[in-house]
């Protein structure tokens, strides 16, 4: 198991390097000129200086190498400095955003808590809703509850977040006026009223994100339960005289959870991607909105770093899912 984990970790390095190269080359092919917004009255030699100040003077491979060094060597040092008070990174050039001329990672660190709060809560809520629905739909297959669950999850698959988000805004904040339509990230929770307000502004984005995740997860849970409910060991458990509750909730559920847990792990990075739209709808200033803003402002270092962070999340959670599968299912041995 350990050798497998180490082997996969080692294999992840070339994958990530390749992905970063793909993203870099894609941005390199960009016809857009970062100096396009500079007024025409600025003389060409000054423009050339500005170009060099942005780090655009050198050939392509040197800039790629510089970005790699900055991202994998200097940024971790900055992190260590921040926590331990050392000064490894003093004087080193970090990845600088073209928009704000401040280090990209600082902005990302500022934005991540907002995304994590909204997305994380939505994910937990969705799991808490999806698992019981999946279990009960499988246990009463083809009952009206199961049919309703199928329909609701089909709707959850089909309604894109930018429609469901706008729809709940129309219903709950325009018509009924219950919740605020814009997520206020400067809000500080220091009293009961502030906590209630925080809860109110979180309900709608969480609801929209959770609907999508619930649709997928409850389907998986149902299918996995159905696979196990007809197995011989279930009949044995019933024949032993175990109560129905113990049979379903202990014997069947534990076995059905194996694929579902891996699906939950695999879904986490795609949730960050899907949250881009939800953040845009509810004006949450998380990393998704940061990416959109950077794309519109042609801020290439920011776009590259953010896209790469998404790629790291995907590779990491793929790895976690594989390892979890091996740990949870004793029949699977990778070595």
């Amino acid at each position: 198991m350990l050798t497998f984990t180490i082997r996969r970790l080692v294999l992840a390095v070339p994958t990530l390097l390749f992905i970063s190269l793909v993203i870099f080359l894609l941005l390199e092919l960009a016809p857009g000129d970062p100096m396009a917004q500079v007024p025409l009255t600025v003389p060409p030699e000054v423009k050339e200086k500005m170009r060099e100040a942005l780090g655009l003077g050198q050939p392509m491979h040197i800039r790629f190498w510089k970005w790699i060094v900055q991202f994998f060597w200097i940024e971790p040092q900055v992190l260590i400095d921040h926590y331990l008070g050392t000064s490894f990174s003093a004087g080193d050039l970090r990845v600088i955003s073209w928009q704000t001329r401040s280090p990209v990672m600082d902005i990302v660190i500022q934005r991540i808590p907002q995304t994590l709060w909204v997305v994380g809560t939505a994910y937990v809520v969705a799991i808490l809703i999806a698992l019981p629905i999946g279990i009960y739909s499988a246990y009463r297959q083809y009952s009206w509850f199961d049919q309703l669950g199928t329909f609701v999850s089909m709707v959850g698959f089909s309604v894109p977040p930018f429609f469901s988000g706008v729809l709940v805004i129309v219903i709950f904040s325009v018509q009924l006026g219950w919740f605020p339509s814009i997520y206020d990230t400067t809000h500080v929770v220091d009293s009961w009223d502030a906590f209630v307000y925080q809860l109110k502004q979180m309900i709608m984005p969480v609801m929209v994100l959770a609907l999508q995740i619930t649709a997928q997860l409850s389907r998986f849970m149902r299918a996995s339960m159905l696979d196990n409910l007809n197995q011989d060991y279930v009949r044995t458990a019933r024949a032993k005289g175990l109560s129905e509750y113990v049979v379903v909730m202990v014997h069947v559920l534990r076995n059905s959870m194996i694929p579902v847990v891996t699906v939950i792990a695999l879904g986490i990075p795609s949730i960050f991607g899907g949250a881009i739209i939800t953040e845009q709808v509810f004006k949450v200033n998380g990393i998704g909105q940061l990416l959109i803003g950077a794309i519109q402002a042609n801020d290439l270092p920011m776009v590259q770093t953010l896209t790469f962070i998404f790629a790291v999340l995907i590779v990491l959670f793929n790895l976690i899912a594989d390892v979890l599968y091996g740990i949870l299912d004793p029949r699977i041995r990778y070595d």
């Binding site: 994958t15 390749f18 992905i19 793909v22 993203i23 894609l26 941005l27 092919l29 960009a30 016809p31 857009g32 089909m154 709707v155 698959f157 089909s158 309604v159 894109p160 930018f162 429609f163 706008v166 729809l167 805004i169 129309v170 325009v174 018509q175 990075p269 991607g273 899907g274 881009i276 739209i277 845009q280 990416l291 959109i292 794309i295 519109q296 042609n298 776009v303 953010l306 896209t307 998404f310 790629a311 999340l313 995907i314 590779v315 793929n318």
Partner: protein, 303 residues
């Protein structure tokens, strides 16, 4: 010695597709989904021939109207008829969905068949598929929109250019599931007796693939085709919604929804129509795919 029974079969032979149709008919959701999808396609492509108002015709005196007999879906802030805009937008959205699906299907089937059929290609092609699966797709799509919009606009004009760009970028980023499924099926088919028999009479690789392998992997390809339409339509609308899709005067469902969010307070119904159209299309396609999967699976058929 017993007489052989009448060699004439009692019933006329039934084609495989008749069986598939029978099974498909028994799935009520799929039937309704198929009918709805057909209706949407007919409405968006043939509707403009029956509805004489133009999608781009500005009538400032009739702006911001609610539903009436003259304008069943109302009018927008420039007095353009919403029904005509919905049909024009739907034609674009559905065309993008269908074309991108065809491209993804072609790429996926090609790579899947190559990887499954030729052992040497299997390793590299599957590594490539894994790499593509590890890419963050929505951010990459947004980046591609940003980067290649200008040159393609210059080469093909603003509407053609963005259409080509959206179709290619969706197609290039969504072929991986098809490739995996097709490869698995081809790997199993390759060891079957009929393939060996065909090979023993000297069938070349190319005709082996086109005559014997491809018809047998048709059912997974068809199922992933329906799901591909759904994801392509949703992706295109997301791009348009984020403001990175088609230009503003060129309606698509995502773009109409995006424009309508500015008037959310005053005219909430304007958000409803395009959103409903996207959701219904995707829902119908998903049900269609569900039914097709059941109908094309010989183990379920006939039950």
């Amino acid at each position: 010695m017993t007489e052989l029974s009448n060699p004439q079969p009692a019933k006329p032979p039934r084609s495989q597709w008749l069986d598939v149709w029978d099974q498909f008919k028994s799935h009520r959701g799929a039937l309704m989904g198929g009918a709805l999808f057909l209706f949407i396609i007919l409405a968006v492509y043939l509707g403009p021939f029956f509805w004489e108002l133009e999608a781009t015709q500005i009538n400032i005196r009739h702006r911001n109207q609610g539903p009436s007999w003259e304008h069943p879906f109302g009018t927008d802030q420039l007095g353009r008829d919403m029904l005509a805009r919905m049909m024009a937008g739907g034609a674009t959205s559905v065309s993008v969905g269908l074309t991108a699906m065809l491209l993804a299907l072609f790429l996926g089937s090609f790579i899947g068949v190559m990887a499954g059929f030729f052992k040497k290609l299997d390793g590299p092609l599957m590594r490539l598929t894994d790499l593509f699966l590890a890419l963050p797709l929505l951010p990459l799509l947004l980046v591609m929109m940003l980067l290649f919009r200008e040159p393609l606009n210059a080469a093909f004009g603003p509407e053609q250019g963005i259409f080509i760009l959206i179709v290619i970028s969706i197609g290039v980023t969504s072929w991986m599931p098809t490739a995996r499924i097709v490869r698995g099926d081809v790997l199993a088919l390759k060891e079957r007796e009929f393939v060996m028999a065909a090979r023993s009479i000297g069938t070349t690789n190319s005709s082996l693939i086109t005559r014997h392998i491809l018809p047998n992997v048709l059912s997974p390809i068809m199922v992933s085709a329906t799901l591909g339409i759904a994801t392509a339509i949703i992706t295109e609308s997301s791009l348009s919604f984020l403001g990175l899709g088609f230009p503003p005067d060129f309606p698509t469902w995502g773009r109409l929804l995006f424009d309508a969010t500015d008037y959310l307070q005053q005219h909430p119904e304007r958000v409803f129509w395009p959103g409903m159209a996207i959701s219904l299309t995707v829902l119908s396609v998903n049900y269609l795919g569900d039914g097709l999967r059941d109908a094309l699976d010989p183990r379920i058929r006939g039950r």
